[in-house]
């Protein structure tokens, strides 16, 4: 009797589980398929770019190139006037500088918008998003005239500034959310425990905003390194960033060189973010070690 009861209980629980897990399993499969499609969409073009970077001749409809060569990579990684290395380093420098600048300004604007109430706050918040609404060409023309007048046209500083302006709305949008989430609770606690503002800023506020700072810098860096038209106009063609050098090869049809440039672009971007991630982890580990080294 007791035995049949337990068997029955086991059966119901088994069927119960089956009926409840079925939609979950289906959802999981669906999720995996979607993720697989996403990975394919990103991976297939990347692989094609990577193959083109080393292809010498790849006529249609061959599945693979007939011959390989290092011609593209040699050109991209060689220094001097015709090479890509100088422009690559310039792009990384401009990208990091403008990412740092717009994230700093964005963080301050976000703080004013998210944590303080003052007259004109809503208008100010709207103004920070205006660059989203103004077409890039219109903006570029106007900025070029202003920069020519104040002597910033054709300079690296001018390009850094204009990239920062373009990426600023993204920085503000990212920083507003995280600043609002972090609030002032921890800062208040630190102040009551004797922390003056520089300590609060570096020990409490900055660490709590760190994920946002990283996302914002990533976003702004990518926006900067992929600017073509603005860089060309404001840099007067004299500030030759990677995107500027890459563009003629894309339109000119030398796919080997274009592929090599594209591949280098991707690899350096990834490398910079792996490096910053590792650096951040190191810094955190150091911080703990400093306190526990007896």
């Amino acid at each position: 009797m007791a035995n049949t009861n337990t068997q029955q209980a086991a059966r119901t629980s088994r069927t119960g589980r089956r009926s409840s897990t079925r939609p979950a399993v289906r959802g999981k499969v669906l999720a995996r398929v979607i993720v697989a499609i996403q990975i394919l969409l990103a991976l297939v073009p990347t692989v094609i770019i990577a193959i083109w970077a080393f292809a010498d001749a790849w006529p249609w409809p061959d599945a693979l190139p007939q011959a390989f060569s290092m011609r593209g990579m040699d050109l991209v990684l060689s220094g001097g006037a015709g090479g890509g290395l100088d422009s690559l380093l310039l792009s990384i420098g401009i990208g990091l500088a403008s990412a740092a600048l717009s994230t700093l300004v964005g963080a301050m604007a976000a703080r004013a918008i998210a944590l303080h109430s003052w007259r004109g706050r809503t208008a100010f918040e709207f103004i920070t998003f205006l660059p989203f609404l103004v077409p890039a060409t219109v903006f570029a023309m106007g900025v070029q005239i202003v920069f020519i007048r104040i002597g910033l046209a054709g300079s690296v500083l001018g390009v850094i500034l204009v990239h920062s302006i373009v990426s600023l709305p993204y920085a503000v949008a990212i920083m507003i959310d995280i600043t609002r989430a972090a609030g002032t609770r921890m800062e208040e606690a630190a102040r009551t425990l004797g922390a003056r503002w520089p300590v609060v800023l570096t020990q409490i506020t900055a660490p709590s905003l760190l994920p946002g700072i990283i996302s914002s810098m990533t976003m702004c860096y990518i926006i900067s390194v992929s600017q073509y038209f603005l860089t060309l106009l404001v840099g007067s063609g004299k500030v030759r960033t990677f995107a500027l050098v890459l563009f003629p090869y894309l339109t000119g049809g030398d796919r080997t060189v274009a592929g090599a440039y594209g591949l280098t672009f991707l690899v350096t971007t990834f490398a910079i973010f792996f490096a910053s991630e590792i650096l951040l982890r190191r810094l955190r580990a150091l911080d703990n070690a400093e306190l526990y080294a007896a």
Binding site: T192, L193, G194, A195, L291
Partner: protein, 287 residues
């Protein structure tokens, strides 16, 4: 000693604190009881300097400190939501006020361990705040407030996020630490039992004003206003003990003449009468 003189705070045109005056004697434990919205937390923010008052003065030991910034006031706050720094370990959190005072690393970590032991959290030094339970987090917050040796500790509903069983344990711990360190403590709460049991003196706050100030026994037996009486609920029962004609529970001491020594219950009924019933059967009528 903390003194508040005619403190007024307005927010969006509405009065939050309305010329409030209050004295917290040195080394005492004072509670501010009131419903939410009565201005209790605002009161603590004014004392800690996080929120400047619109008018009135705050005095520490007779000196006006209105222009002293928060970080120099030496009043630590224990918040309802702990507010432990997530990027620091438990020991780093507790050592934080000492670090702000420029205490050397080794010394401050030793002190942190000692303070952690006093809140029964030995061996938790290396943990991250996210690994702790709510009760443990609040103990760390308490240890962190104590570690800097502040002249006063402000407690903002410190137990309201905890289970009832934990709450009583924490009340006991806070009182033991108060006695041990002699630090002035000002606690804000909406729990009348808590205020009655823990305080040397207590204030009832409503609409930004002190309605009544006195000893817990006084306020329990002679509430000055309807709303003070209402804060005790329809019936209030506090378990304690009677010794030589006096009922005590933690700090609450109410005379209970004729009541037998031993465990007893203090009962306040909806009609306002306060009786002590010895659990052995004898009874004392107080009103």
């Amino acid at each position: 000693m903390i003194e508040l003189k005619d403190i007024s705070v307005k927010r969006n045109g509405a009065s939050v604190l309305d010329s409030l005056s209050l004295v917290v004697p040195s080394a005492s434990f004072v509670s501010v009881l009131g419903e939410s919205g009565a201005g209790k937390s605002t009161l603590l923010s004014v004392i800690s300097g996080l929120l400047p008052q619109d008018s009135g003065q705050v005095l520490f030991d007779g000196e006006v400190i209105d222009d002293v910034p928060t970080h120099q006031r030496k009043v630590a706050v224990v918040f309802q939501d702990s507010r432990l720094f997530p990027n620091m370990t438990v020991a780093e959190n507790v050592a934080f006020p000492l670090r702000m005072q420029g205490v050397a690393k080794e010394e401050r970590l030793q002190a942190a361990s000692k303070t952690l032991a006093s809140v029964q959290l030995e061996g938790m030094e290396g943990r991250s705040p996210s690994e702790l339970s709510g009760g443990q987090r609040q103990r760390v917050a308490l240890a962190r407030a104590l570690a800097g040796n502040p002249s006063a500790i402000l407690l903002d509903e410190p137990f309201s996020g905890l289970d009832e069983s934990l709450r009583d344990e924490m009340r006991h711990l806070v009182l033991a630490l108060h006695e041990e360190t002699g630090t002035t403590m000002l606690m804000v709460t909406h729990d009348a039992r808590e205020a009655l049991m823990m305080s040397d003196e207590m204030a009832y706050l409503a609409q930004g004003r002190v309605v009544q100030f006195g000893t817990p026994a006084d306020i329990l037996q002679h509430p000055a206003a309807e709303e003070v009486a209402a804060s005790f609920g329809s019936t209030l029962a506090i378990e304690g003990a009677v010794e030589n004609g006096q009922f005590t529970c933690r700090k609450l001491a109410v005379p209970a003449p004729g009541c037998a020594n031993g465990p007893a219950v203090l009962l306040r009924t909806h009609d306002g009468s306060v009786d002590v019933h010895a659990l052995s059967g004898a009874e004392a009528n107080l009103s």
